[in-house]
Symmetry: C2
Subunit: 344 residues, 2 copies
């Protein structure tokens, strides 16, 4: 199960806005089409955005000069351009900064050599993301019991990473381990990543699952239908405060009230230790039309109605039972334990 | 602003499934079409269902026998039939029981006279609902300060009652009083009564409002954008436990966590003192297809995905700051104070 491919310097992606109705693979030939694919959520999911952005630089290299000074300038501009596609998921910045670092460390080589190094580094980021998912899933699955009823939000599987996923990767692993999970899927308005993508992944993996409206989760918890909640993350501050898809904070408050474990699953690259606390994270505000129209259909409200569309929210670390990473499971006190485990 | 009309023994209703795109008035000529209109949510809102069901009996009377024994049998069957349309909103049962009582008290009169009495009682229920809304709005508006930011859920205005509404009626009243409210509207999945109906009513009344996804409410509360929450109710037990549109309990937990007043607004007819506590209330479970398709459009998930569709949830009275009724505002301890104020 893959959502992007890079072969012979050519980049392809599964257009996630067309799912689950159609499985359409598209070619990404320019940095502009890479930027657009991220901006329009055709490629999404914090870890996947990082890998895809790195490859978007790769497809741009042939258009860059072979004169070093000009090349460095073009490369820097390309990094900044891609970073402007989405503000919240840190993995985008992390992956591009890795390319930047690889270039800095090899700045005395020829441009031709440097271009090869960039491609090598992008492929390494990709391979690492796949193995990161594996490690994270192993650590996470150890927290899940047999026949557990797990609630999840948005999409965090093989469509959100280049591996098997973060939160959903943990669930896939419990299935492989014969633990027989049942998954309740928040549809995740406005863009319905839960309904469109997570339900599709769980169907492909033949895992028992039920789609619910986001506002039903509380009722299910009240009726003891949920044993644990696992979500992904777009950026985690040094304090453990976590930015993730809008609706995550709601679930965290509900989990606290109902005394249900609330897990965040994210690779090391999702941590941003330059930020002390959640309030420092930029929350992307998107066009209200995504709320006013469901998947581009007719207006669901009067045309003149104003809609607010915050794409993410902030969950304070105090509401998080544990953060599942590829380096291990992090428990409170987060500030100390994140500092000890996460390094990049 | 009206949502049903009864004139010269003819019943008409605004088809709410067509809003906000089209304002389509339909004629209800038979009890079967009345039942269907309620079942399919063409006429909805707990108080409005009660009034409309009473009138649905009225349009049925000409088809009933003038022989008393046969008439009583037909009348009883008609009541039971309409009661089967929806299980949770008690106002439906309350209004039909009022007709039943009026008939019982006049059983010695001629069938012709009894039929006139039924029509008179239905019109009385209608008039009372209008004045009930007025009284409730007066009591509720006194709780709201100038420039308050109010969150509401589902639809509780002139489309949900035959008057100006319950929760929304309170908001309309604060506008009339010059208090300048700002309303945040939960879109209210799956059937989007907030987006389709509440946004439409607020637009008609020129009240400043913003549509949000249901999963955004927590983020707004965290960011101190909400001063109070007002919702309606479909049934309130003797304990004050309240059944209302799915998502209400979620808001109540969030309000508790963020220390925001959480008000339920409902007329006396919404109380069901025969039930001691919320767990005794029947929660309507509707077809999962309402979740899987938004307003009858294409599937938002794989066709094979199973969806859960609980139409209502239960809010324990401990999470309710006050219940606003046409008899006054009820504060805890609810059991005692409801018993003192509510009588029917």
């Amino acid at each position: 199960m893959k959502s992007i491919k890079f072969k012979n310097k050519k980049l392809f992606y599964l257009d996630q806005t067309k799912l689950p109705g159609q499985e359409v693979w598209k070619s990404c030939k320019t940095i502009k089409s890479g930027w657009k694919a991220i901006k329009e959520l055709r490629v999404r999911g914090a870890p996947l955005i990082g890998v895809f952005a790195a490859y978007s630089i790769c497809v741009h290299l042939d258009k860059c000069s072979d004169k070093k000074a000009i090349f460095f300038n073009q490369f820097k501009k390309a990094l900044d351009y891609l970073k402007s596609a989405r503000p919240t998921a840190v993995n985008l910045f992390w992956a591009l900064d890795r390319l930047d670092k690889a270039v800095s460390e090899n700045k005395d080589k020829t441009v031709k050599q440097i271009k090869e190094i960039i491609i090598k580094e992008a492929k390494l980021i990709h391979r690492e993301d796949i193995s990161t998912c594996e490690k994270l899933a192993d650590f996470g699955a150890a927290l899940i019991k047999n026949n557990e009823n797990i609630l999840t939000h948005c999409n965090t599987g093989f469509l959100a990473t280049s591996g098997q996923g973060t939160a959903l990767g943990v669930i896939f692993k419990t299935k492989q381990q014969g633990k027989n999970p049942t998954v309740y899927i928040d549809e995740t308005r406005p863009l319905l990543q839960g309904a469109r993508l997570t339900a599709w992944e769980l169907s492909k993996k033949k895992i028992k699952s039920f789609l619910i409206t986001d506002n039903s989760a509380a009722f299910l918890m009240q009726n003891k239908m949920i044993d644990s909640i696992i979500v992904g993350a777009d950026r985690i501050a040094a304090s453990g405060d976590t930015a993730n898809k809008i609706g995550t904070y709601n679930l965290a408050v509900l989990a606290d009230y109902h005394n249900i474990p609330f897990y965040v699953a994210a690779p090391q690259s999702t941590f941003d230790l330059s930020l002390q606390k959640g309030e420092d994270i930029v929350i992307e505000k998107r066009d209200g039309v995504e709320v006013k129209k469901v998947l581009g259909g007719d207006f669901i409200c009067p045309a003149e109605t104003k809609a607010l569309n915050f794409a993410f929210d902030l969950t304070p670390s105090g509401l998080i039972t544990a953060i599942i990473t590829d380096k291990g499971v992090i428990y409170p006190p987060y500030k100390k334990n994140i500092k000890r485990l996460i390094k990049w």
